[in-house]
């Protein structure tokens, strides 16, 4: 399946209305489908959920579907560029070219065992053009309407910042939650800095369900990211450290919450995560 060049403006926005306002007597039009309790607890948020029915996309190095910690992979595609620079999305027959995507899929599976996992491989076609490939992969994921997209990656190229911003906003309004690794080096990088995504850094604790809301953004949450045992290529399990392993922990949590409350918007989901984080109301 060929996709248009990723550097051009994304497809036209949704229907344009004459006025973005609420006329008198139309309050029933904005009735919310989620019944909001007086107090948000972890039990309300994801108690009994396995992530069933939630479609998770892993934008990474591919996923080794044979790994016992990963289980069934719904679909696997790879993004590449034609010599003319056109992005092409095709079924991925190579699996994981590094191990990292498999690690992320395994973490999501451990948190939300019944979620549906799809792999989008944006690695392996060379460094040159990797920014275009990342954009094309993300655009495809947003168009496919995944519920959650795990992005343990970023770009430092300013030329991509504008289009990435548009894409992450579009995902936000289409109820696709993007969970992105924060960068812990002193450089500007994207898309984790955008407020329309959920950005994740690491804490050093060993509990996968411990996560903290950060009162000092742009990093919004800290999740388990140090010395994590993960799935790797070749059926291996290894121990890893990095924000890129904290990110799928938050992705897994998002899948759990959406499994129980599928109608939550990204804004509501982020609010639930805030209210249930370990330094806010997480003990309840």
């Amino acid at each position: 399946m060929a996709q248009p060049d990723s550097n051009t403006d994304p497809e036209p926005h949704e229907e344009l209305r004459p006025a973005w306002s609420l006329p008198a007597g139309a309050s029933a039009d904005v009735a919310l489908s989620v019944e909001w309790p007086g107090e948000i607890t972890r039990d309300w948020a994801w108690g009994g959920s396995t992530g069933k029915g939630v479609r998770v996309c892993i934008l990474d190095s591919g996923v080794d579907a044979e790994h016992p910690l990963v289980g069934h992979v719904e679909r696997a595609v790879a993004v590449s560029l034609t010599p003319d620079g056109e992005a092409v999305i095709a079924d991925d027959t190579e699996g994981d070219l590094c191990g990292h995507g498999t690690a992320c899929a395994g973490i999501v599976r451990s948190m939300a065992p019944d979620s549906d996992i799809t792999s989008v491989r944006v690695l392996g076609a060379g460094f040159t053009g990797s920014g275009d490939i990342l954009l094309a992969g993300l655009r495809w994921a947003v168009e496919q309407g995944f519920d959650v997209v795990n992005m343990s990656l970023s770009t430092t190229k300013r030329q991509f910042a504008g289009i990435l911003h548009e894409l992450t906003d579009r995902a936000y309004f289409r109820r696709t939650v993007l969970v992105a690794s924060a960068h812990n080096m002193p450089v500007e990088s994207y898309p984790w800095r955008f407020s329309s995504v959920i950005s994740v850094g690491s804490h050093e604790e060993q509990d996968a369900m411990t996560f903290y809301a950060n009162p000092d953004p742009p990093v919004e949450f800290f999740a388990r990211g140090v010395d994590v045992e993960v799935a790797w290529t070749g059926g291996a399990r290894i121990r890893c450290t990095g924000n890129s392993f904290a990110t799928p922990h938050m992705t897994g949590l998002c899948a759990l919450v959406l499994g129980k409350h599928p109608d939550l918007t990204p804004f509501q989901l982020k609010s639930v995560l805030y209210l249930t984080s370990s330094n806010v109301g997480g003990g309840r």
């Binding site: 590094c98 191990g99 430092t156 140090v226 399990r237 450290t241 990095g242």
Partner: protein
């Protein structure tokens, strides 16, 4: 570019590659020592061939691996370069494919490694890897920060080396004259003060004679 400007640029460039390479080697040596690691390496991204090249190595492989190349977007180093995310992994020998890939590029299979992208402004220039630090305790985020500091230093050194190479290539392609002037300028620059003054007087005299000939 005027001849004068060319000579001035050349004076700054000739010989600087060696200095910047020494700086890179020094960064790998210090990284290896601070982390108590078996080896540390810096890979430079060759944008023309889309490959990663071993540019500086401390410890294992220092004699044999310099200049070795591999594709830029596969394996651990490739992932780190493309995603711009640092990564620490341990017990890697449990992954047979990783071990095989690594052995093919280095002849050495580490048990653990830390890899961090070398970023300068908007550019990803390469990757710094530290192999087999002693696994005394659980890895901590303080070590990750330390690795980031080394990466900053290495990225600056790598950027200088890249620029020096480019400048030398430009000078080389602009004719033999510029190179001779560059060498002469470097030699004069390195003289003791008294000798340098004498050399500059001689060169001024030479320049005057040449200009007269040019005019006549």
């Amino acid at each position: 570019m005027s001849e004068e400007l060319k000579a001035a640029v050349a004076a700054g460039v000739v010989g600087s590659q060696g200095t910047f390479r020494s700086l890179l080697e020094s960064v790998t040596e210090v990284a290896r020592a601070i982390f108590g690691a078996e080896a540390a390496s810096i890979f430079l991204l060759d944008e023309e061939t889309d490959e990663l090249v071993f540019e500086a190595i401390a410890g294992y492989g220092a004699d044999t691996l310099l200049g070795h190349r591999f594709p830029s977007s596969t394996g651990i180093a490739g992932w780190v370069l493309v995603t711009r995310q640092p990564l620490v992994i341990e017990d890697v020998t449990e992954d047979p494919r990783f071990a095989k890939d690594f052995a093919e590029t280095t002849g050495y299979i580490p048990k653990g490694l830390m890899a961090v992208p070398l970023l300068h402004e908007e550019r990803a220039l390469g990757v710094l890897e530290v192999l087999d630090r002693p696994q005394r305790t659980q890895f901590s985020l303080v070590e990750m920060d330390l690795l980031g500091l080394f990466a900053n230093q290495a990225a600056i050194a790598l950027d200088l080396l890249r620029r020096a190479r480019h400048a030398e290539a430009v000078l080389a392609s602009s004719g033999e004259g510029a190179e001779v002037v560059a060498r002469l300028a470097t030699t004069v620059e390195n003289l003791e003060e008294e000798q340098r003054d004498a050399a500059l007087r001689m060169l001024s005299g030479l320049e005057e004679v040449l200009r007269r000939n040019e005019g006549g």
